[in-house]
């Protein structure tokens, strides 16, 4: 039986000496790498990465992690959740770490989109640096992703503006600078972005072709 609870167990380790074992469940390779880099700075943890839910239960038994890090949005969380209420995982129940005495960390973790499952009895001061590092890396990754998406949008807009300028130059026999000035003036008059005016022009010309 691989589910359902949960006898409170005394902490098995006193804490200090042993290397912290961390399991990271993360299908995105670049994010996984980023998290590992962040965790490495917290000392010398023993880190294992798992790409998906396959074999999660088995790996949990093999590795006996102290902390499991997983994205809030990862559907494998339900599998982990079941393990957290399971008995028989080497008598080491894990539970999602929510520090209700420190709401700000919990909220920061949720906003960053990371959840940590922590073995019963692990001291808070050992969890905090790990969680802080994970939060930082998750946020960093999100920022990079957003920047990448923004760069893509900017590139697409630039292309559209180039096409719109070309259309105006051909249709009206004007210079590139004049074509751009025209787009900009129209945009200002209509309270729209240059890229939106360009987009409209390109769409219209495609339809009329």
């Amino acid at each position: 039986m691989d589910m359902l609870v949960a006898h409170p167990k005394p902490p098995r380790r006193s804490g200090m000496a042993s290397r912290l074992k961390i399991l990271v469940v993360e299908p995105d390779e670049s994010r996984a790498r980023m998290i590992i880099d962040g965790l490495a700075e917290t000392g010398d943890p023993d880190i294992t990465v798992l790409g998906g839910p396959t074999g999660l239960a088995r790996r949990m038994t093999e590795i006996e992690p102290d902390v499991v890090l997983i994205a809030m949005s990862d559907p494998s969380r339900d599998t982990l959740e079941a393990l957290s209420v399971a008995s028989g995982f080497n008598d080491r129940p894990v539970a999602m770490f929510v520090d209700r005495s420190d709401d700000s960390t919990t909220r920061a973790a949720i906003e960053a989109g990371v959840s940590a499952y922590v073995v019963d009895g692990l001291a808070k001061d050992r969890i905090r640096p790990v969680l802080d590092a994970a939060i930082t890396r998750f946020n960093m990754f999100k920022k990079l992703r957003n920047e990448l998406a923004a760069a893509k949008v900017a590139l697409a807009e630039r292309k559209t503006i180039e096409r719109a300028k070309g259309l105006l130059m051909t249709a009206k026999g004007i210079s590139e600078d004049d074509a751009y000035a025209m787009l900009r003036k129209t945009a200002m008059d209509q309270g729209r972005k240059v890229s939106e005016v360009a987009e409209a022009l390109v769409t219209a010309s495609d339809l009329l072709r």
């Binding site: 039986m1 691989d2 589910m3 839910p53 396959t54 969380r77 339900d78 959740e81 079941a82 999602m96």
Partner: protein
Amino acid sequence: MATELHIGFVPLVDCAAVVVAKHLGFAEAEGLTLTLHKQPSWSALRDGVALGGLDAAHMLSPLPVAMSLGLGGLPTRVDALMVMSVNGDVIGVSNAIARKMRADGWPASFRDPRGTGEHLIRATDRRLRIGVPFPFSMHAELVFHWLGALGLKTPGELDVRIVPPPHMADAIAADEIDAFCVGEPWGSIAVEQGVGELVLPCSAIWSFSPEKVLGARHDWIEENPDIVRGLMRAIFGACKWLGAEENRLVASELLSRSDYVNVPATVIDRALSGRLVTRKRALGQTTERFLNFHASAATFPWRSQAAWIASNIAARIGLDRSDAMRTAKACFRSDLYRENLDGLGLDMPGASEKIEGALAHPTAVASSKGSIILGPDAFFDGTIFDPSETT
């Protein structure tokens, strides 16, 4: 100015009530705007409700019970304001298991819980690996009840794997599970992908199981009585609308949108019409009351349903049964149901608890307006559950 509410849901056909309440004017009529948030997992939905990001949610009926009993992550007192759907789950098996069952003489009947269960138990030498969406789910309870009644020692002789509903087809394709119990459309998706076969509607195990509830934090409910009243009335209106046969096709179109279930409307319609295709390219099989939103006082949160759930969970994990049943009963808010839906012209049952499993056929019982038709609510094995026996 309409009040905005954030409502969580998991993409399933039975999230229909929140979608219909949002889009077809039921929320608006109560001065509410619903913003729906699709959740990647039941854990994420649970966290959203517990930590306040979500005001209310489409929830597995055992989830408020488990959370209120302090089980699983983020224990929080959560109430079930009303039931949003009755029945609607389905049992499926891998092609390999289906082949073994046929070779063993299984007649492939879709309405024989006893025969099909016995064949399924015999189909594998090792522990049967069965996927359910969450440890605290009607799916888990029904599987334990069904195979337990057929002699399997549950949960010990089962290998229960937790798989989010949209991943059930992948899990069976990857041979991680032999069978599953899941809400639609995800059983039908396994059929469409040719990786599994449906063998039993869960309504054949228990003919009236509360599947999803409208759940919210107890404190939030206490602090916002007017909003709660509006929300319950909107959801009730949506459930009533969903219960009318002529609205079926609009409902399947609405649910098929990418924001919601994101599956073709024709596949969603199978659950709404109760006409499931059990094998790829087979003809549909009609199941009465496969999924029920309204009939037989479907939305009434019976305290005895909560007690049944709590009694099972308590027995399995060793909690005090009476205490667990008492806590669970308190979180199924039949009191608020009576109070808030008064004046909508609906007939209220006279009692808030019933003997679960006692009605083999639709039966008239006492109600506020004289009598109301309830049931059937029988278990396949004739189990009778008396919610008062230990309290």
